[in-house]
């Protein structure tokens, strides 16, 4: 049966989730079915390849074949404070013993049962504004588990929390979800891994919501490694409170068609949101990213940098908007997308937008599309580096410059290694 066919809530859901949540799922399903499919004439879908979004052939994922194997290969950073492993919409493993007292890291359904107030306060409360409302409803209706992290006031989690989301099976569908709530003046780093267990074509429709209360600091990295045939939605929101600071990086190594939506809402004075994305594109892969930097409070800052390298017949869309609401004076907002064109078949579409309704602001945006600087290549060739190697080194350097924005040295090294591996450059 297709993942989009009407069917009753699964047996697991009946047991795991409270009744009020299942009611929410029922109305989410009605909303999914009642919402029209997007068309290219809809402004949030301009330039998009709507034809790539065919869901009918995807099936609900079955249980994974080997939990042990997936848990074993769920290896990321050397030192972490906790780890969750999900496979095909089920929690396979949790290692949460070393977390500081009071920190909650558990499955969403456990949080819904045990921490109902917190869950209801933060779960999918931010409306999906960037076009994929319909798919967020599908996500909510089909959700069976996900990660819930709550860091209480004044608690600092020294080492990163790692979460793995595996998908297995031809045309399987998963609905990964990560909800992070950072209490006042807390600090934490979270890494989401999105991985394929078997290299098959699949469908992922994920939601990540990050909430930062006053003075909180969050570093968030999503590393997406779906197969190059897969279809994926990743809908992210970050709500930043007074004097809180968020840095979120979305890395897209895989996916055939990926629609990414990232929204940052700055709701308190002195809030800061850094939005980063790194996308080495090749083959016929397409990525369609929409972003919003929504300044609802004065004296807040946001800084967006998206880097795309486009090889082969790959295609990128970037549509970003800086929105400064009335009264959000002293806003400092920056937005930049850079496309490095590596092939004559590649195509980059950039729509960097501004909507400013407050006068005392500093907002700039920029978009560039260019090719590798021949002088740089020549310089390397003159030093005995082959042209093809030189190109890879330049692309590697292009992305490394973005990783410099990350605070943690070990995270920079780890991600730098992954980028180098992806580009076929020996890691230095």
């Amino acid at each position: 049966m297709s993942v989009t066919a009407t069917e009753p809530v699964s047996k697991e859901a009946e047991q795991n989730w409270p009744a009020w949540f299942r009611d929410q799922q029922t109305s989410a399903w009605a909303d999914y079915e009642g919402s029209p499919d997007p068309t290219r004439k809809d402004e949030p879908w301009r330039f998009s390849n709507i034809g790539a979004i065919g869901l009918a052939e995807f099936q609900p994922a079955e249980s994974v074949t080997s939990e042990g194997r997936l848990i074993n290969i769920s290896q990321g950073l050397a030192d972490v404070s906790a780890k969750l492993v999900f496979g095909n919409n089920a929690l396979l493993h949790q290692d949460v013993e070393r977390l500081p007292h009071g920190v909650l890291l558990k499955s969403l359904e456990a949080a819904a049962r045990e921490d109902e107030e917190l869950f209801r306060k933060f779960f999918m409360v931010q409306p999906i504004e960037l076009g994929s409302h319909k798919y967020a409803s599908l996500h909510q209706a089909r959700l069976s588990t996900g990660a819930f992290l709550y860091v209480p006031k004044n608690v600092e989690v020294a080492l990163p929390v790692e979460i793995f989301h595996w998908i297995e099976g031809e045309n399987a569908s998963i609905f990964p979800h990560t909800l992070v709530v950072c209490g006042e003046n807390s600090k934490v780093t979270v890494i989401d891994h999105f991985k394929s267990a078997d290299g098959k074509r699949a469908f992922a429709c994920g939601v990540n919501d990050l909430h930062l209360e006053q003075g909180a600091q969050l570093n968030y990295v999503a590393i997406q490694e779906w197969t190059r045939e897969s279809l994926a939605f990743h809908l992210n929101s970050t709500i930043v409170g007074r004097d809180a600071s968020s840095t979120a990086l979305n890395i897209n190594f895989g996916g055939g068609f990926v629609r990414g939506e990232s929204l940052s809402r700055l709701i308190g004075e002195g809030a800061r949101s850094v939005m980063l994305s790194l996308n080495p594109m090749d083959g016929e892969r397409q990525i369609d990213q929409r972003t919003l930097q929504d300044h609802a409070a004065p004296h807040a800052s946001s800084d967006l940098l998206y880097l795309n390298s486009l090889d082969d017949a790959s295609r990128t869309i970037f549509a970003g908007l800086i929105k400064v609401e009335p009264g959000a004076h002293k806003t400092d907002a920056y937005q930049k997308v850079r496309n490095l064109m590596l092939s004559d078949q590649a195509e980059a579409n950039s729509m960097p937008g501004l909507e400013i309704q407050a006068d005392d602001v500093r907002c700039t945006h920029g978009a560039t599309s260019g090719e590798i600087n021949e002088d740089e290549l020549f310089y390397m060739q003159a030093r005995g580096i082959r042209k093809s190697d030189g190109r890879r080194l330049i692309v590697n350097g292009f992305f490394r410059s973005l990783l410099e924005r990350l605070e943690s040295g070990s995270l920079r090294t780890y991600l730098g290694g992954m980028v180098s591996k992806k580009l076929g450059v020996s890691s230095a």
Partner: protein
């Protein structure tokens, strides 16, 4: 709009805010139907193909929805049934000001047109509601083979050139308003510059709306043959009415290989005018088309001058200044379609939002596959004067393949308090300091206008800024 703000902006509107009563010999009545189109075609003595062209356009206009999925919902306030689509005293323009009916002549004299003609223009066309009241070209320019007439005359007397290019740069169905214009067009200029002829002085058209609830739909077609050069300037005004006035022009430019066209607009419509204009140029090999566009007036302007660079090394440029005062929305921008190798384009846009004014930049840059050596540079700067002002920037840049370079930069800022303080310290009033700062912001672009216009522009900006402080 409050009475206070009306007072502020009425200062500069006064230039065009007057009106003399005029008797119209031809009046298509109110509202739009096929009968309106037949009426216009009959009055103008249209050939059959134009009548058919108009009717086809009318059908497309009716079919096409308002583009409010991206554009301002203010468009929904246009009531097409309440508009008068054709008003004239006759279709043949006068060659001498002495023959122009008294009240029409007085109108243009008050706007300074005959004086400017004597001083620095190679030719003038003065359109009053639907038709040109006056059209003349300096003898020496006419003797070079330059044709400068109204669209009706161009169609009748030069069908071989007219028909070849008419509607080819902007197809009828390009958008709802190009379809409307194609259905009811009247007036506008037809210009042909023969190969190698460089027209030394600008040709000017002046568009005047005099009647209430009127729609002006001029249609301009300029063809610059190989290696020729021409500069065209247009200005416009209308008295301020309580009811809606609609202005929806279509302007097509064709620059054949090596030709240069500069098209200068100073738009100063009264604040009840919906100004919805489609402008596009086709630049052949090594040709250059430059739009210099300044929007100060109107209630809502939607205008995105475009250049399709069809031949190798063609060049397109848009210089845009927009000033959005209380109650105004200047939705302007540019489109650059690179359709050949080594084509280059440049867009520089500066906007100022005052009071509740809103300035929007919309841009499109398109570099399709298999092209090499294309370059685009886009710069958009917006200045916000008051806390209720609004500005938006919506560019779209599509680049395929390597070997091309596109860069887009935009910034939004306000006038620095330090600047104002510095000037006040030296005895300059706050208002004057504000005007100086705004003039400084747009100064490099104002320089690109012909001298007579840049002086006028500076004065308009000063007047607009008066009383907007605080």
């Amino acid at each position: 709009m409050s009475t206070d703000t009306e007072q502020d902006i009425s200062i500069d509107r006064s230039i065009g805010d007057f009106r003399y009563d005029v008797d119209y010999a031809f009046d298509a009545g109110t509202g739009l139907s096929e009968r309106t189109i037949d009426y216009i075609s009959d009055v103008k003595g249209d050939p059959d193909w134009i009548r058919a062209f108009r009717k086809d356009a009318y059908r497309r206009f009716v079919e096409k929805p308002m583009p409010t999925h991206w554009a301002s919902h203010d468009l929904d306030n246009i009531v097409f049934e309440n508009i008068r689509y054709y008003l004239s005293q006759g279709t043949a323009p006068k060659r001498s000001w002495d023959e122009v009916p008294e009240n029409v002549k007085r109108t243009f004299e008050r706007l300074g047109i005959p004086e400017q003609e004597r001083k620095f223009l190679a030719g003038v066309e003065a359109q009053f509601d639907s038709e040109a009241a006056y059209s003349n070209i300096k003898k020496a320019v006419g003797e070079q083979g330059v044709i400068f007439v109204g669209s009706t005359e161009g169609l009748h007397k030069h069908p071989e050139i007219f028909r070849r290019w008419f509607g080819k740069v902007i197809p009828t169905g390009d958008n709802k308003f190009s379809a409307l214009n194609s259905a009811v067009f009247s007036g506008g200029s037809f210009i042909y510059v023969p190969p190698g002829v460089k027209v030394k002085h600008p040709l000017q058209a002046y568009f005047r709306i005099n009647a209430e609830s009127f729609g002006q739909f001029e249609r301009t077609l300029i063809i610059a043959d190989e290696g020729s050069e021409v500069m065209y300037m247009e200005g416009c005004t209308a008295p301020k009415f309580e009811t809606t006035t609609l202005h929806s022009a279509v302007v097509e430019l064709v620059a054949l290989p090596g030709a240069k066209i500069q098209y200068v607009t100073v738009q100063n419509w009264s604040p009840n005018v919906f100004n919805l204009v489609t402008k596009r140029g086709l630049a052949h090999e090594e040709a250059e088309i430059k739009w210099i566009d300044c929007n100060i007036g109107s209630r809502l302007t939607m205008k995105y001058p475009s250049v399709v660079m069809k031949g190798r090394k063609a060049r397109g440029e848009v210089i845009s200044i927009a000033l959005a005062n209380d109650g105004q929305h200047q939705d302007t921008g540019a489109k650059m379609i690179h359709a050949a190798n080594e084509t280059t384009s440049n867009i520089v846009s500066k906007s100022i939002s005052v009071g509740t004014g809103r300035a929007t930049y919309r841009g499109l840059v398109h570099v399709p596959r298999h092209l090499k050596g294309c370059k685009n540079n886009t710069e958009c700067d917006a200045l916000l004067i008051s806390s209720h002002s609004r500005t938006d920037t919506y560019p779209a840049i599509s680049v395929r393949g390597q070997g091309n370079a596109c860069q887009h930069e935009a910034s939004v800022s306000q006038i620095s308090e330090d600047q104002i303080f510095y000037m006040q310290q030296r005895g300059i009033s706050e208002g004057a300091a504000m005007s100086l700062a705004v003039n400084g912001f747009v100064n490099d672009l104002v320089q690109q206008f012909p001298m007579e216009y840049s002086v006028e522009l500076k004065r308009l900006i000063d007047l607009e800024m008066e009383g907007s402080v605080g």
